[in-house]
């Protein structure tokens, strides 16, 4: 596969498939998800709720819990195949080389443990030589780095004593204190007040620059992705629809789903317009995925779309689309949606 087992890529996901085996049937939650993430790059993963963004992140960390199961695919991180590692080996990567910031900061912190200790814990798991005191001192420094006022005092607080924004700063401190190579941010601002959102995004960006981490930013907010990411991957119903540089995808969307998605944004130039919505509903993931998942809602769909899975086409430099509309004009891009920058 391997259009590019490119050494510059920190993370390569290939043909990832995750299914949930429930009593009511099999949910095809992820099908053939492929993408790449370069060293120091920040990539946005966008799509509506339930399209598999978070699940992709969980699959990378291998924390998909039953009845979910990763049934196929390769996830290469640096020189390691994550899906082939032992439980012990993957644990050494979690929180250390790949960290993840969660969506609900207040619910993602242990309510019965002081926050300083929770931050220090991440360090202690991965560096046994540090000792309690050393780890705690570093944790307090980290709280300072995420702009928490009076960090010594705040480290002794419990999560319920913090605001959502503060809790998210703690979460960021907890996940970046080990200076991971890859940070996955799963909707880091969705649960926060609008006024805090920008601060948190800035904070993440600044810290990432300092540490030199790559970022996979999961969001349903195209604005956040446009501001912070180099590239964007658009997912629909468990598959990648389109990927490319943020500018290319936003200004020149090639997949009918992306086009629809961008039209749903309120128009700043002409505010009087009624809001646009994509007709139809997200497909039932219990159905066997045949053809393009978006076909039933696609205004340009042909008969073939609902029976045959479209390959990925290169529509521009680093811009790839999984849609038959580009069959005539663009070359097939191997088997993976991804970009070599």
């Amino acid at each position: 596969m391997t259009v590019g087992a490119d050494k510059n890529n920190l993370l390569e996901v290939e043909d990832l498939a995750v299914r949930f085996y429930t009593l009511r049937g099999t949910v095809h939650a992820l099908e053939d998800v492929s993408f790449k993430l370069g060293q120091g790059e920040s990539v946005g993963l966008v799509g509506e709720t339930g399209c598999g963004k978070s699940l992709t992140a969980r699959a990378i960390l291998r924390i998909v819990s039953p009845p979910g199961k990763i049934i196929r695919g390769n996830i290469r991180f640096e020189d390691k195949q994550l899906l082939e590692l032992s439980e012990r080996e993957i644990r050494q990567i979690r929180g250390n080389q790949i960290s993840m910031i969660m969506q609900e900061p207040k619910m993602s912190l242990n309510p019965s443990m002081r926050v300083g200790k929770q931050v220090a814990e991440t360090l202690m798991i991965h560096d046994k030589s540090l000792g309690k005191r050393g780890a705690y001192a570093q944790a307090v420094d980290m709280l300072n780095a995420v702009s928490i006022p009076d960090p010594k005092h705040m480290a002794k607080r419990y999560p319920h004593e913090l605001s959502g924004g503060m809790a998210q700063r703690i979460m960021i401190a907890m996940m970046l204190v080990t200076r991971p190579k890859l940070l996955i941010a799963d909707e880091p601002t969705s649960a926060l007040d609008v006024t805090i959102q920008a601060q948190i995004i800035d904070l993440i960006n600044n810290l990432i620059d300092d540490i030199g981490s790559s970022v996979l930013m999961i969001s349903h907010d195209l604005g956040v992705v446009a501001e912070t990411c180099d590239r964007v991957i658009v997912m629909y119903a468990g598959s990648v629809a389109e990927s490319g540089l943020v500018r290319d995808v936003m200004e020149n969307p090639q997949h009918p789903y992306t086009q629809g998605l961008l039209r749903t944004l309120p128009d700043a130039i002409d505010p009087g317009q009624p809001l646009y919505s994509i007709k139809g509903t997200v497909p039932n993931l219990m159905d066997e995925p045949l053809g393009c998942r978006f076909a039933p809602r696609c205004p340009q769909a042909t008969d073939r779309c609902s029976s045959q899975k479209p390959p990925v086409y290169d529509v521009g430099p680093g811009h790839q689309v999984a849609c038959f509309l580009h069959e005539a004009t663009s070359p097939v891009a191997g088997t993976s949606v991804g970009v070599q920058l």
């Binding site: 960390l61 924390i63 644990r91 050494q92 990567i93 979690r94 929180g95 250390n96 960290s99 993840m100 969660m102 609900e104 619910m107 993602s108 912190l109 242990n110 309510p111 019965s112 443990m113 814990e121 991440t122 798991i125 991965h126 419990y158 319920h160 004593e161 979460m171 907890m174 996940m175």
Partner: protein, 339 residues
């Protein structure tokens, strides 16, 4: 914290006072003349009237009530009609045996119930989970008297691994009575033979009682663990790179303890009332038997005294549970400390 305890102790006193009042009036509305019970069926009316004066039942209601309050204030619970001794002395005699048995039973219930519940939750729907479910089901649904008799039959009559009913071998001499709990008194006296024998005697009754408590504790521990395991912060702990063992021990279990501690408190409070059937089968001279006889013979003073004791021990266990909450769940301290 000290402030909080003080406040709780004050409210405990109010609770006890309330219970004292309710108990007094409840004893009045009993539809049977307690004097008939005291004097016996053959007593002539004169004797009954004389006894009525002796026990103060001839006085107007408010006088009776103030006398009752006055006596309570002096820790005088009156005489037991049945034993002819002060009720307080009776309680001091019978309660330690119950306390000892209930405490051992609780230890058994906690030591086995919590791990059983936690493991069932972690290995949900596994063979072990099913086995734990069966054990719990047996624990709640098996009649105590039957289980007690079966245990006696097997471990005493057939196998002779455990001693006969009772608290101590008749050939052994009880150590000087200090706490009334044989295990503690024998340690104080340094009499290890008695300690060992008393411990062996308590195994069967404590197991019977403990199995009952274990069932409830294991079920609650399982369900609260299941709840906690689905929380986001457990995911966070995994993302940090913790092994599943530490995820459970450090992040899941402490948060699952609050409901479990509630259950433990309720069970313990219940056991302190004395377990009539268990005490009867195992000839255990505890409060359960004493109070049952008191109820059956309408021994009013003993009933009132026993009710007060049960209420106070329930309240104390509750206080202990609340203090544990504050320790387990930092949110609770703050909420109550400020209020």
């Amino acid at each position: 914290m000290g402030n909080y305890i003080l406040k709780r102790l004050v409210s405990l006193c109010i609770t006890v006072a309330g219970i004292a009042i309710v108990t007094f009036f409840l004893s009045l509305i009993v539809p049977i003349d307690p004097l008939a019970a005291i004097a016996g069926p053959q007593a002539d009316p004169e004797t009954v009237e004389r006894l009525r004066a002796v026990y103060g039942f001839d006085q107007p209601l408010h006088v009776q009530f103030f006398r009752y309050v006055e006596r309570l204030a002096h820790f005088d619970l009156g005489m037991s009609f049945q034993t002819g001794r002060p009720v307080l002395d009776d309680i001091i005699y019978f309660f330690p045996a119950t306390f000892e048995l209930a405490s051992i039973a609780m230890i058994i219930a906690i030591v086995f119930g919590i791990p059983l519940g936690v493991i069932s939750a972690v290995k949900r729907n596994s063979f072990l989970d099913q086995a734990a479910r069966v054990i719990s089901l047996i624990g709640v649904s098996m009649p105590v008297f039957w289980l007690g008799l079966v245990l006696l039959l097997i471990f005493y009559f057939k196998l002779s691994w455990l001693p006969e009913p009772g608290r101590l071998d008749i050939m052994l001499i009880e150590p000087p009575r200090i706490t009334g709990m044989l295990l503690i008194d024998s340690i104080i006296a340094g009499d290890w033979e008695v300690f060992q024998d008393a411990l062996m005697h308590s195994i069967m009754p404590a197991t019977v009682l403990g199995l009952f408590g274990l069932a409830g504790i294991a079920r609650i521990a399982r369900s609260s663990m299941l709840d906690v395991l689905s929380q986001e912060y457990v995911k966070t702990a995994r993302i940090k790179g913790l092994s599943e063992f530490w995820v459970i021990v450090r992040h899941a279990f402490p948060n699952a303890l609050v409901p479990t501690v509630t259950m433990i408190g309720l069970t313990y409070g219940g056991l302190l009332e004395g377990a009539v059937l268990t005490e009867t089968i195992f000839s255990w001279p505890g409060l359960g038997r004493y109070l049952t006889v008191a109820f059956l013979t309408l021994d009013l003073n003993a009933i009132v005294g026993g009710t007060m004791l049960v209420a106070i021990s329930y309240s104390l266990v509750n206080l202990l549970v609340d203090l544990l909450y504050a320790y387990l769940n930092p949110k609770i301290t703050l909420a109550k400390g400020e209020g």
